[in-house]
């Protein structure tokens, strides 16, 4: 099972996890990213490169399935305007081996954070707005994984 979705709308984590649990692998790992509030943030705007995103996420999912013995995975990334508390991203993996489920989940979220063609703009209560700067750490981490 490979489910990849790049969408504006929210998703239901329980539905995703139930599908992964039903694969019978015994172990399901997940990571959910949520918009953090604070500092007067009123919304995050996520822009992406539609022609590239789905294909790239699809490709990295194939890589994860080649590298770890996975029974299935589910990757969802939202775009558009998201308020604090909203889910942005979900990665779920299922395997007979808990280390495979956990490591592939970490691999995929690291990749999404550092290599997927998404850009975040922060909007603040005072009307200010600015693009989030990439963290050097994330760029370095992605290179380590991807080789």
């Amino acid at each position: 099972m490979k489910r990849v979705a790049v969408q504006a709308g929210d998703f239901d984590v329980a539905t995703e996890l139930a599908a992964l649990e039903a694969l019978g692998g015994g172990g399901v790992a997940s990571f959910t990213g949520v918009v953090r509030g604070g500092g007067g943030l009123v919304a995050l705007e996520l822009e992406h490169y539609p022609a590239m995103t789905q294909a790239q996420v699809d490709r990295i999912c194939d890589e994860a399935m080649a590298r770890w013995p996975l029974l299935g995975l589910s990757v969802i990334h939202r775009f558009g305007r998201l308020e604090p508390g909203a889910r942005i991203v979900f990665v779920g993996t299922a395997s007979r081996h808990r280390a495979a489920a956990l490591e592939s989940c970490a691999f995929l979220i690291d990749w999404l954070k550092s290599q997927a063609p998404f850009w975040k703009k922060e909007h603040f209560a005072d009307g200010a707005a600015g693009w989030v700067e990439a963290r050097a750490e994330d760029e370095a981490k992605a290179k380590g994984w991807i080789g």
């Binding site: 022609a51 979220i109 290599q115 997927a116 063609p117 850009w119 975040k120 989030v132």
Partner: protein, 84 residues
Amino acid sequence: MLTIVYFAWVRERIGLDEEQVARPDAGTSIADLVAMLAARGGGHAEALGDATRLRAALDQRFVALDSPIGDARELALFPPVTGG
């Protein structure tokens, strides 16, 4: 012609989502083309003046800025990604 697409603050500074430019010689690097575009001044200079802040993709594949444009149909220019 070559289609160039822009994202995030590169798009905002240039004021365009995409534009068509005359296709450069296949051996021209992305960095060379970026320098030519920046030389137009205005938003292009603002967005593309410092190539160290830019990342690129050719036909939806990430590539280094010193890569030749070759026969690509679409060049994308953008800041480092900040997804997830």
